[in-house]
């Protein structure tokens, strides 16, 4: 019931978000058709505006947009005039998703075990080294990590390509560049969660009733300690799946992330709104899934 209500609630949220994006991008100065060279006659600008219905009142444009959206049509791109927004998303999103999912798995795969281990070894040398490395990963931004990786693995060692998106081998460096920061964040979250849990009474109880240390840690402590990571993962996944401007630029990857930034700079109205709606849907749905997974992980959580 609770989730049904949440699902229904998605619709007004999306309407509000899409309207805000729709109106705000039109309020910004400049139009999609402004170029360094003025068109040869004002008639041309008028024809362009009419073509994309920009000469109509805003509410009418929005109604038209909603009608198209209901059919799953995001409309034509106003910057890339041979493509529709659907086309661009269809081509770019899978690439971004592959990269994002890779980075997500990389971050989880490194972050969770490392955080878990360093919490168990809390206060020992391993803990300090790992904490320091995690901090380093958080502090160095992708636009430094990316070129560093390229320098070492593409130029010095000649192992991996410096960019483009052609084979699984091309994915390794971008995935690391994108995932490293999140691996650091997750390992810290995991370590904090684990440290807190290890002091709670039910762990003492588990130990007291003679459960082995491994079973205590994995079966009892882990399930609760991972909760902060899980709640962080929803928005993180939405973020990663829709691409990364920085990493896609550095490696020349044909994803959707660059469009998130460029479309608003280009005033590509339909593209901006389309991407905002897409991102919102992903974010809302993944958040819902995260809440759902709480019930599976934490027996204390129940939704009415």
């Amino acid at each position: 019931m609770y989730f049904l209500r949440r699902l229904i609630f998605l619709i007004p949220t999306l309407l509000i978000i899409s309207f805000l994006a729709f109106a705000l991008v039109r309020v910004a100065p400049g139009s999609p058709f402004d170029k360094e060279r003025k068109p040869a006659s004002p008639e041309i600008e008028r024809a362009l505006k009419a073509k994309y219905h920009l000469d109509e009142p805003l509410w009418k444009q929005y109604m038209r947009y909603l009608a198209d959206l209901a059919r799953g049509d995001f409309g034509p791109s106003m910057k890339y005039r041979n493509h529709t927004v659907n086309d661009i998303i269809r081509q770019g999103l899978p690439v971004s998703m592959t990269l994002g999912l890779g980075a997500f798995l990389f971050a989880q795969g490194i972050g969770i075990p490392v955080g878990f281990y360093s919490a168990v070894r809390r206060g020992r040398r391993v803990d300090y080294i790992v904490s320091f490395l995690a901090l380093l990963a958080i502090c160095i931004p992708a636009f430094v990590v990316g070129p560093l990786l390229i320098m070492v693995f593409a130029f010095k060692m000649n192992w991996l390509p410096a960019g483009l998106w052609e084979s699984p081998k091309h994915m390794i460096l971008p995935v690391i560049a994108l995932g490293l920061y999140f691996a650091g964040r997750i390992s810290r979250l995991m370590r904090e969660g684990m440290s807190g849990i290890l002091h709670s009474e039910f762990i003492t109880t588990a130990r007291a009733k003679g459960l082995s240390e491994t079973a205590t840690l994995v079966k009892h402590a882990f399930r609760l300690a991972v909760l902060p990571v899980v709640s962080y993962s929803g928005p993180l996944l939405a973020d990663l799946l829709t691409g990364s401007f920085v990493v896609e630029s550095i490696f020349g990857i044909p994803g959707i992330g660059v469009f998130l930034v460029n479309s608003s700079l280009n005033r590509d109205y339909s593209m901006v709104v389309g991407l905002v709606v897409l991102y919102a849907v992903l974010l809302l749905v993944l958040n819902l899934l995260v809440d759902l997974s709480y019930t599976l992980l934490d027996p204390r959580v129940k939704y009415e």
């Binding site: 024809a47 410096a162 550095i250 044909p254």
Partner: protein
């Protein structure tokens, strides 16, 4: 230590596996991979949490790109083309691949970028220079096998001036009878355009006045012939039609946005025998660092966009043998808003112009061999020799400023210099600021905005002074000078001068080249010496990268146009290529 070495070896082996196996397309096919992923999905449907992940996996498998045969020539081309439709596109990154797909009556010579016979093999020009009769080649045909007819040209040119097409460059057809009237909707009937088919292979064009550069215009991409049936069938997205009939040297094999444009030699092109390559890849890379990385690791053979050279590395890069710099038709200048005080006073504009040490700007910021600009039209432009505009004379400048009522800059209102966000523009702005402060005692503040705001404010004349640039479309002074006529949308200074307008009109109606040049020179003198609504700073250079021993067919020319059919790879250069097995 040994552990470390073992780990390294393991890594290498894993990489070699990825390398050799090509597992995505050979070990199991793409469809099989999808089916496999689906099966896993269905099996685990109960775990709803996992399903989301698996849906993502399926989507992602679609995202794993396939490996293709490496192209003969791979070119980093700058920004993603907005369009490949010759009538719609505007930018150079768009025009370069499009020019290979669609040809006009003439085409550009790869060596010196002059016009040479294209789809028309010869033509006659009437004595008054206002009627051209073009004869199309008998072997001119679409890539689908149908002949290219004079009617195809009539359709293509009418399409350009039709306001419904919304072609930004329709101004190129204003030289043709009724072109302007149709584009500005004064005449609704497209058939009134001064172009008609005299036979299947004969085309007659009537011009408003003898236009010295008309044959150059015919080589410009806007004037190329486009396939009527495909356009009528598919509308805006006709360029993605399969098969797409093309009239130029290359077929569009695939276009994946922000990924790659793959062009393949068109076997039915009239000059197909001389094409120097089979496949060309055009990569839309807009980051300088990415382009350079790919070039260094030989995933890219040519970098030919000026924006693709990292400014920080300029000193190192320009000394390399594979770095090619040459002059092109481009001018960097400052616009004054002559509608605003105190820039409505010509003495103020002159004073501000005379204190700019352009050499210093070139040496300190551009670090290249760019030429100082004292005119709007770059020297080397065909049929022309530009006049000498204002130079560097601070003493005279102070005199002018005093005459205008601001001795030593006293009472001069603070003003703004407006530019779009880019490191180089900011650095030049700082130099201007310093020179104006030091020599004239006046205060300028820098104001930067993003591109679209910059354009909008410049058009609306909401600025005091602003950074500007202009790249010539064709090799004639007209492309630099007609924009400052009173009603031209690219004027953007508020400057209106009847004498200038009259001189420009007179010049372009003259048949004699010397007389025409003299008139144009007279007009430009007004622009850069007497009235100075603009302050030219330097002329652009093109910066390209390619290895001379590997790539042939790219020549230094003033239009910076390099037809793709002429570019090829040298056979002898079988170099060891790391990292690019595909």
């Amino acid at each position: 230590m040994t552990l470390w070495i073992n780990a390294l070896q393991l890594c290498r082996r894993a990489l070699r596996f990825l390398d050799g196996a090509h597992w995505l397309e050979s070990a199991f096919s793409f469809e099989a991979a999808q089916a496999f992923a689906c099966k896993i999905c269905i099996r685990n449907l109960k775990r709803c949490q996992a399903t989301a992940l698996q849906i993502a996996v399926v989507a992602c498998l679609a995202g794993c790109a396939r490996q293709e045969q490496r192209a003969d020539v791979v070119i980093a081309n700058g920004a993603e083309p907005e369009s490949l439709d010759p009538a719609v596109l505007t930018g150079q990154p768009d025009g370069r691949p499009a020019a290979a797909m669609f040809e006009g009556l003439t085409r550009l010579n790869p060596v010196d970028s002059t016009s040479e016979p294209g789809l028309a093999e010869r033509w006659e020009i009437s004595e008054d220079g206002r009627t051209y009769v073009f004869h199309l080649r008998t072997n001119a045909m679409w890539s689908t096998g149908e002949p290219i007819t004079a009617d195809d040209f009539v359709f293509s040119w009418r399409r350009v001036v039709d306001p419904a097409t919304a072609c930004d460059y329709s101004g190129l057809l204003f030289y043709v009878v009724n072109g302007e009237e149709i584009a500005t909707a004064k005449i609704k009937d497209l058939t009134k355009l001064g172009v008609r088919a005299l036979g299947t292979r004969t085309l007659e064009v009537k011009l408003v006045s003898p236009t010295a550069f008309f044959l150059d215009l015919c080589a410009f991409r806007t004037m190329a012939v486009v396939p009527r049936k495909t356009i009528e069938k598919y509308g805006d997205r006709w360029i993605m039609a399969k098969p797409l009939p093309v009239s130029g040297s290359h077929l569009l094999e695939s276009w994946r946005i922000r990924d790659k444009i793959r062009l393949r030699r068109n076997p039915l092109y009239w000059d197909a025998a001389n094409a120097q390559n089979e496949i060309v890849d055009i990569l839309p890379i807009d980051t300088a660092m990415a382009a350079l990385n790919l070039y260094q690791t030989r995933q890219v053979d040519v970098i030919w966009d000026k924006s693709l050279v990292p400014n920080e590395l300029m000193d190192v890069l320009t000394n390399r043998a594979d770095c090619h710099r040459f002059d092109n038709l481009g001018t960097y200048f400052v616009r004054f808003n002559v509608r605003r005080k105190p820039f409505d006073d010509v003495r103020v504009r002159k004073a501000l112009s005379l204190v700019i040490n352009k050499r210093r700007i070139i040496d300190r910021i551009l670090r290249g061999q760019e030429r100082i600009a004292r005119s709007m039209t770059p020297p080397g432009t065909a049929n022309y020799d530009p006049p000498e505009g204002l130079g560097y004379d601070p003493a005279l400048a102070r005199k002018f400023l005093a005459e205008a009522g601001y001795p030593d800059g006293k009472g001069f209102p603070p003003f703004e210099y407006f530019f779009n966000s880019l490191k180089m523009h900011e650095q030049i702005g700082v130099e201007l600021q310093e020179m104006w402060k030091k020599e004239l005692g006046i205060t300028m503040t820098l104001r930067q905005t993003e591109w679209k705001v910059y354009l909008a404010m410049q058009s609306a004349l909401e600025y005091d002074t602003t950074r500007s640039s202009w790249i010539g479309d064709y090799n004639d002074p007209n492309t630099f000078l007609d924009m400052f006529m009173s009603n031209n949308g690219n004027n953007r200074t508020g400057w209106r001068n009847e004498r200038y307008d009259r001189l420009m009109k007179e010049a372009n109606s003259l048949l004699n080249k010397e007389q025409r040049a003299a008139k144009l020179r007279e007009a430009e003198t007004l622009l850069v010496r007497d009235e100075v609504p603009i302050l030219p700073i330097f002329f652009y250079q093109s910066i390209h990268f390619w290895r001379r021993e590997e790539i042939r067919g790219i020549h230094y020319n003033i239009l910076d146009e390099h037809p793709l059919h002429a570019i090829g790879k040298n056979k002898s250069s079988k170099l060891q290529v790391p990292n690019s097995k595909s």
